[in-house]
């Protein structure tokens, strides 16, 4: 079978490597891919947000399965576009990818269904957010509601930092519309773990756990 992978990072290289191990796969394409992915897949010069071009490519090249690696196209509804055209695709539809695309959606979901998470409040205006921050215990966590290239989460140690954060997200709009709404959360202390899960809409199977060091410098600095 023929597989198309959408994305261009280390994640997509790891997915391509994994797909390459499958005995069922004859040919892998990756859009847009990168220098390393090109060694195991044919890279296609279409970017991840060009949904119609990607679907055209999948149709013309009789792709049997398309795997979406990145968050932006998923939140933007690429899976819906592929499904409408009868193309087989792996990833959540737009109405499910919102679990990543909107922090306030996911927090409200957890509250409604009693899924353990920390206390939070959602704000649509900087004035309300600043009023609330005046009565907060610090540190607190400030999150842009929408996607912000992984940079929309600010840990604020005191009121000054939090006020600066509100200005960055809501007034200066450093991350555009993503900061129209913000979530302010209690700061949690403990060990972090990431668990990736395969999901079929009804069943969920967790993979082995991992722990990430996000920061650039030794000792988790910067």
């Amino acid at each position: 079978m023929k597989v198309l992978i959408v994305g261009s990072g280390g994640r997509e290289h790891a997915i391509a490597w994994s797909v390459c191990q499958s005995k069922r796969v004859d040919k892998i394409y990756c859009a847009p891919g990168n220098g390393g992915i090109a060694q195991i897949a044919e890279c296609v010069n279409i970017t991840a947000m060009e949904f119609d071009k990607l679907a055209d490519f999948a149709e013309e090249n009789e792709i049997d399965l398309t795997i979406i690696g990145m968050d932006d196209p998923l939140v933007g509804g690429i899976v819906d576009v592929f499904e409408e055209r009868g193309l087989r695709v792996f990833g959540p539809r737009k109405n499910a990818a919102i679990i990543e695309g909107s922090k306030s959606f996911s927090k409200d979901l957890m509250k409604k269904y009693n899924i353990p998470t920390c206390h939070y409040e959602t704000f649509h205006s900087p004035e309300e957010a600043l009023l609330y921050l005046g009565g907060c215990n610090f540190p607190i966590v400030l999150k842009a509601d929408g996607l912000a290239l992984g940079k929309g989460v600010l840990i604020c140690q005191n009121l000054e930092e939090a006020e600066a954060g509100i200005a960055t997200l809501m007034l200066d709009k450093q991350f555009g519309d993503a900061g129209d709404t913000v979530v302010i959360e209690d700061f949690m202390v403990g060990r972090e773990a990431s668990v990736l899960c395969f999901c079929d809409g009804t069943h969920i199977k967790p993979m082995t756990s991992a722990q990430d060091h996000k920061r650039a410098k030794d000792g988790d600095q910067a």
Binding site: W17, I68, G91, E192, G201, M207, H213
Partner: protein, 197 residues
């Protein structure tokens, strides 16, 4: 800037709690809302004194988490993905190797603020014939001179080992096989492995 798998703090007891109180309830909640979730759900957890809590959800594989998790998966990924799309994931016996993996990200010096691109990368071929060692490209570009850096995060060097300590040793050895002018990496990836003892 690096990641490791498995987490020594994510015990079987915690896993059981998460399956009952977090993972399945999240699937059920999305279904109840008419938003059936098909794909990869990334659950970011904080293991607090009051038990595990959700930090965040993502709707896709984590990066670089995918670089330590997928090399340890025993199943054919296409079989698992097919089962997800067809609603038959309950028929899959998902299995991982009983070992560990560590990934160290090689970046351009100055990342994330200011850094130069277009530096020629050498040593990539040293991974070709070695089992359990991987070099995943993040920000690279193929040019006439060869593969050059094309971003802040350039490569993910992953190695497996029988346990986390061996995997970490192997991964840091493998980072030495790669050269480019402004190569930068963290030296303390997997420090938590020592804390677990």
């Amino acid at each position: 800037m690096g990641t490791f798998s498995p987490s020594p703090f994510y015990t079987e007891e915690i896993q059981k709690f998460c399956e009952e109180k977090i993972y399945q309830p999240t699937m059920d909640a999305m279904k109840a809302e008419g938003r059936d979730f098909v794909g990869i759900l990334f659950v970011g957890l904080m293991m607090t004194a009051d038990g595990p809590k959700v930090l965040e959800y993502n709707a896709r594989f984590g990066d670089p988490e995918a670089q330590v998790v997928l090399p340890r998966m025993k199943n054919d990924i296409i079989d698992v993905i097919d089962a997800c799309i067809d609603g038959k994931l309950d028929q899959i016996d998902l299995q991982f190797e009983d070992n560990a993996a560590v990934c160290v990200v090689l970046a351009s010096d100055g990342y994330p603020e200011h850094y130069e691109k277009g530096k020629l990368i050498s040593g990539l071929e040293k991974f070709d014939d070695k089992d359990g060692y991987y070099v995943f490209h993040a920000g690279t570009k193929l040019t006439d001179e060869g593969i050059v850096t094309n971003g802040g995060r350039v490569l993910g060097v992953t190695a497996k080992g029988k346990d986390l300590k061996e995997a970490r040793k192997n991964a840091y050895e493998a980072t030495e096989w790669i050269s480019f002018e402004n190569k930068y990496m963290r030296h303390d990836i997997g420090k938590a492995i020592d804390d677990a003892e």
